[in-house]
Symmetry: C2
Subunit: 229 residues, 2 copies
Amino acid sequence: MTTEDTPNHRTRVAAERRGKTRAKLLESALLVFAQKGAGAVIDDVIAHAGMARGSFYNYFRTNEELLAAVADEINDELLRAIDPVVLRCDDPAERIACGTRLLLHTVRRFPLYGGFMARLPFPAANSGLLGARFLARDVRLGVATRRFADIGWRVGADMLVGVMLSAACSTAREPLSPAYPDASARAMLRALGLDEVEAARLTALPLPAFELPPSSLLRRAQLLSVGRD
Amino acid sequence: MTTEDTPNHRTRVAAERRGKTRAKLLESALLVFAQKGAGAVIDDVIAHAGMARGSFYNYFRTNEELLAAVADEINDELLRAIDPVVLRCDDPAERIACGTRLLLHTVRRFPLYGGFMARLPFPAANSGLLGARFLARDVRLGVATRRFADIGWRVGADMLVGVMLSAACSTAREPLSPAYPDASARAMLRALGLDEVEAARLTALPLPAFELPPSSLLRRAQLLSVGRD
């Protein structure tokens, strides 16, 4: 028995193939739904992926399951990329400034993402929205430490999540201007109770170097989308 | 020929019956989708309405068309009810304070609405969102007259729309506290550049008497929903 024939090897190869096919389906779903909208169906996705209908059901049972998987994947990759950067600051206001600016710049760079999010029902879009679970945590911290006004953490968290989603969906209509991310972050800091001078200072800080990894679903799909248009 | 037999009379009776059946379908769709979520289908709606499947297609071609009609109907009735009240003020900041508070109190009183909005894709929820077309108009006015910070009207409008939708969807998870509407409105005024004192003053003004008309889809459906639970 050669190495290539051992059961371990065959299992590993099968798992790799499975992972690649699943990744291909997520990529196709992201592209197809961002372009065709909520009316897109499984048939559009498998046609784009060049896959048989039967194979699809080895991976997902329904359209909704597929869309949720795409949303989870993107949200997870955003959270994994942005949260460690945000956590370098101790100040909750600086964390919110940094996190929202990074999110909004990402939204601006990957309009495909907004196109996709705009097609999801709000709870789907909202579960771990934009990988923004850190926003609620940092609003709580800022309210608890009186760095923010006594806004109530839920009012604050709903606000930030709503503004992020609204900005993402706004790109589905028209690209965001270069000034949009910082202006929006500044408005949110004022809403949280910071004065204009402090809000302007925090949103003018140099942003840490930030890049989604090349394996990122968002990067891969955006590249394919641009390549094809 | 008696009066009851004239063609005019028959046409009028048929139109009335048609209007009632359509209203019944919108009501059922609002109730069913708020409870079952995006997975609900035409069959659920017609079962609730006690109607044959064939009749449904005399009114709507697809599920999406039905949902859009419900969203349009609610958005129109909110706009018709709230905008005349808002327009009694000349000051765009007072308009935003009044309009967002009225919207948020309505959202709080009719949790059914949030449950429904949370099921719609964002563009559907967003078209004339919450009857809130006045928000974008008043942000423009406030920025143009320098009553607001130079936030950019799109940043401001996206923010307000996102916060309103987020609050509506938030009720699908947990009721809003009585303090929520004013706290949220105050945060939005600060975001638009008003100082804390002015934001607090504007959100403490007595709210004008406001009631949706008894014919309102939202009122009828909420009554049925409470009656049945």
